[in-house]
Amino acid sequence: MMTLVMGGAASGKSEFAEQLLLQSGILPRYYIATMQPFDEECRLRIEKHRQMRAQKRFETIECYTGLADLHLPQKGAVLLECMSNLVANELYSPEGAGEEALSAILTGVEQLAAQSRQLVVVSNEVFSGGLDYAGDTGRYLRLLAEVNRKLAARAHRVCEVVCGIPQEHKGGWQEHADA
């Protein structure tokens, strides 16, 4: 089963996504981290989160680009966070897919879904602030939005986390509550 968890910055979407997988009881638990550490602040933030997740028995696997080539040791519960970073990496990183970013990401998610008993994808809601951005940001927004729409269509469940509270947009949340 695939779940898409959307939300703005600091909306509580990560915690909610973790909870979904903890409640599923499925082991092992993998956390696919997409944020590339560019500076010391990033590194400290990543290390803190890695330790927090280790206590919850999540094994962290880093994947900045090329999700389709990722092979998980076992079929378990998988949390991919965050799509907004993966899209930026595929679009702008020298190792990224560039023009082929959309298909690289969608293929990658399919591969990941095939290796998961439960897959939760976290993505970012950044589309309500208008379009007055400089440079290439419009291209990035269009691609991230397309990825989000495709994943929402593919996912069994979609929710938007607001102040830590999930608002359901799609799916049988109730029937899967114990799954």
Binding site: M6, S128, D132, R142, A145, A152, A153, E160, H169
Partner: protein
């Protein structure tokens, strides 16, 4: 009138076309979109009300939500954003049905759409 709103690139026009049983190319015959941009040209409340009345004559009116970011430093951008939000409220009041798109998924906020 059906008023469709939602964030940027959330699938508003694709949903409208599906609702109207037409292609996105044919949508211009029945619908107006990006109406938030028209709001910026309105001088005051009367103008905005008149615009909302005119737009409401279309079967479908589509606006992009633009009020979710930080308040713009630029005065003109600030005014445009304000007008866009108020226009959306006026349109929603005139609409029989209001639908908000999110990642391509519709939520009916007012009225109902045929299944």
């Amino acid at each position: 009138m059906i008023f469709i709103t939602g964030p940027l690139y959330s699938g508003k026009r694709a949903f409208a076309a599906q609702l109207l049983h037409c292609t996105e190319q044919q949508l211009g015959q029945y619908a107006v979109w990006d109406v938030q941009q028209l709001a910026a040209d309105c001088a005051g409340t009367d103008d905005l009300t008149a615009l909302a009345d005119r737009l409401a004559a279309h079967p479908v009116v589509i606006a992009t939500e633009v009020g979710g970011g930080v308040v713009p430093v630029d005065e003109a951008q600030r005014a445009a954003r304000e007008a866009a939000g108020r226009l959306a409220c006026l349109l929603a009041a005139r609409a029989d049905t209001v639908v908000r798109l999110f990642c391509g998924l519709p939520t009916v906020l007012k009225g109902r759409i045929a299944p």
